[in-house]
Amino acid sequence: MIGMGEGKINRHHEWTIRRLIGAHSGVFMVYIIVAVTFIVGGLIDREVFLFANVITILHHMTGLGLISVGQTFCILAGTFDLSVGSVISLTSLTFAGTIMGRSEMILIAFAFTFAVGVCVGLINGVLIAKARINPFITTLATMLIAQGVAFLYHSGPYGKITPEVKWIGYGTIGFLPVPILIFITVFIICLVVLTKTRFGLHVYALGGGVEPARLSGVKINLIRVSTHVICSVLASGAGVYFAARMGTGDPYCGVGYQLESIAAVCIAGTSLYGGRGSLWGTLGGVLLLAMISNTFNHLNLPTMSQLILRGIIIIVAVAVYTVRSKDFGK
């Protein structure tokens, strides 16, 4: 384990490329696979290469991308969040339901929806950090509660957005769709936070080793709670986006996203045990999953088979990386 390195790193000028690749081989792999899938898909069906199709893929990515970015924070810190899917459903309802077609309610709807996100995040974070309850049980419970509240609120699609909101889902600035711009902005902000701030460093430290972090003075509980809040807030952002796309809120829209978000994070090598990985990996994972869906669609695979294959791919990917990170981490 520790101390197994032979201390041979010494060629200063080589550190950029080689180290980048070595430490992040998983990320590179994912992007390569993405590229390969894209090319192969295009060879099978020329339509894949169309700009319009690329935009479709990017659209697909936004929802999953937002929550995966949030999930990345949690996983890097050594925890995870199963409630994201339910939060999406719930927030899509609260958002569309608060607006109900009235433009003046937009700001209030935003505020309320994000408040819901913050609340869920706080509950998760506090229960995990202070009450020391297993993340699985905690986020399972909040998942049920959030989904339950969503159903109670309305058992079917509900709420109505306004044209301004619709712009969020369908508008474009220049040739880029708004959602993608939103995602890019969020991504960049989170990337900066993770790599260039104290907070980000502490997230990595916490996941990399609780004891060293604690003994060095990292505020463990604060970081844990924060990552959960970030995750839930981004999930509520995704809820807003879905509402904008669907024109209404839907208590079912978030179903299944928790597994996909965890998979997107882990596919590129981010360890489930925390401390290692990057947002670029998550981005790659999200791209890959979106690409897979897209390719399946073009191959005219029935939805059912898609589901099966997705499940298998996710398990295999996680298995491969779990085995790897277990070797390293021990």
Binding site: F136, T142, G148, F151, L259, L307, I308, G311, I315, V318
Partner: protein, 331 residues
């Protein structure tokens, strides 16, 4: 050589001085009190509740959930989670519906096939978790998706095949006023509890859940035990499904939805520890009873069906707080 020194009475909490000095209500686990309380409330709210017909109906409807919960208990006791059981229900129901196709004659081969397939699913789960080292919640979550897809693929999303009258006769049938199904449940409960408490394998499950490293050093086959638990979970889910479909005419897409969460809730409410190592079938059945009575109560009070999930989530949190043992930060 002083064996008389060891008193054979169970001490309610470790390290305490014996039975004397412990308040009465602590001696009986919290869950029994909760159940009692709930039942009393139900009587108050709806005195008609305890008519035999009502009771048998309630029990019959709830039996499949009990079987799923028992299966889940095995997995949780060994330290893992099985999230695929809801989809197992959906898939097996579809498979059964399709293979039986309304013909009694098919039962002879259709039922064994369903049981076989169900068992294999559990074995696959077990192998993925033990040999590929994928965390159990992820592996079974993936299996859940695969099975959802498989169910849809097999049926094309449409009701396919169906269940014959005779099947339903069995499902509704009673012996001395108690449904056949309930007898089966009781038999399974007794066998499972015996397995857990009185066989080497059963006790090994608890050991593995408690500390798998130490268990390995004591010669227990940790991987084998875990695989067995996943096998039991899917097998019991399959049996539960087959019992459940006796009251239906044909498969539909809503079968099995959210049943994994129901099962987990029951196990936790019953008092099992999440990291594994503590709990029993009896405690799960207690949890099952509590949840069943609770939901019946809510129904009677007019609480909307859609609120079920919310209640489950809250109950889980409550149970976790009440049960200090559950606070282990493990996966």
């Amino acid at each position: 050589m002083n064996t008389a020194r060891f008193n054979r009475n169970k001490t309610p909490t470790a390290g305490s001085d014996g039975i004397r000095g412990v308040p009465f209500f602590r001696l009986i686990p919290l869950q029994w009190w909760t159940l009692l309380l709930l039942m009393l409330v139900v009587i108050v709210v709806n005195p008609n509740f305890y008519i035999p017909n009502n009771l048998t109906y309630m029990l019959r409807q709830a039996t499949p959930a009990a079987l799923l919960a028992i299966g889940e208990t095995f997995v949780i006791l060994s330290g893992g989670f099985d999230l695929s059981i809801g989809s197992i229900v959906s898939f097996i129901a579809a498979l059964a519906s399709g293979t039986i196709a309304g013909r009694v004659a098919h039962l002879a081969w259709a039922l064994p096939i369903c049981v076989l397939v169900g068992s294999v699913i559990g074995l696959v789960n077990g192998v993925v978790v033990t040999k590929l080292k994928v965390p159990s919640f992820l592996a079974t979550l993936g299996m859940m998706i695969i099975l959802q897809g498989a169910a849809l693929l097999y049926t094309g999303g449409m009701p396919k095949g169906g269940f014959p009258e005779e099947f339903r006769d069995f499902g509704l049938g009673k012996f001395i006023g108690i449904p056949y199904i309930v007898y089966i449940l009781v038999a399974i409960v007794v066998c499972s509890q015996l397995l857990l408490r009185k066989t080497k394998l059963g006790r090994s499950i608890l050991a593995v859940g408690g500390n798998d490293v130490a268990s390995n050093l004591m010669g227990i086959r940790v991987d084998g035990v875990r695989i067995f638990c996943f096998f039991m979970s899917s097998l019991l889910s399959t049996v539960g499904t087959l019992l459940m479909v006796t009251t239906f005419r044909v498969w539909d897409t809503t079968m099995g939805i959210d049943m994994e969460f129901e099962a987990i809730t029951m196990v936790i409410v019953g008092g099992a520890a999440i990291g594994g190592g503590k709990g029993s079938i009896v405690s799960t059945i207690l949890g099952w009873l509590i949840m069943t009575v609770l939901f019946t109560l809510l129904n009677v009070l007019g609480f909307p069906q859609s609120g079920r999930l919310l209640v489950q989530g809250l109950v889980i949190l409550l149970a976790v707080f009440a049960n200090v043992e559950t606070r282990k930060v493990t996966r």
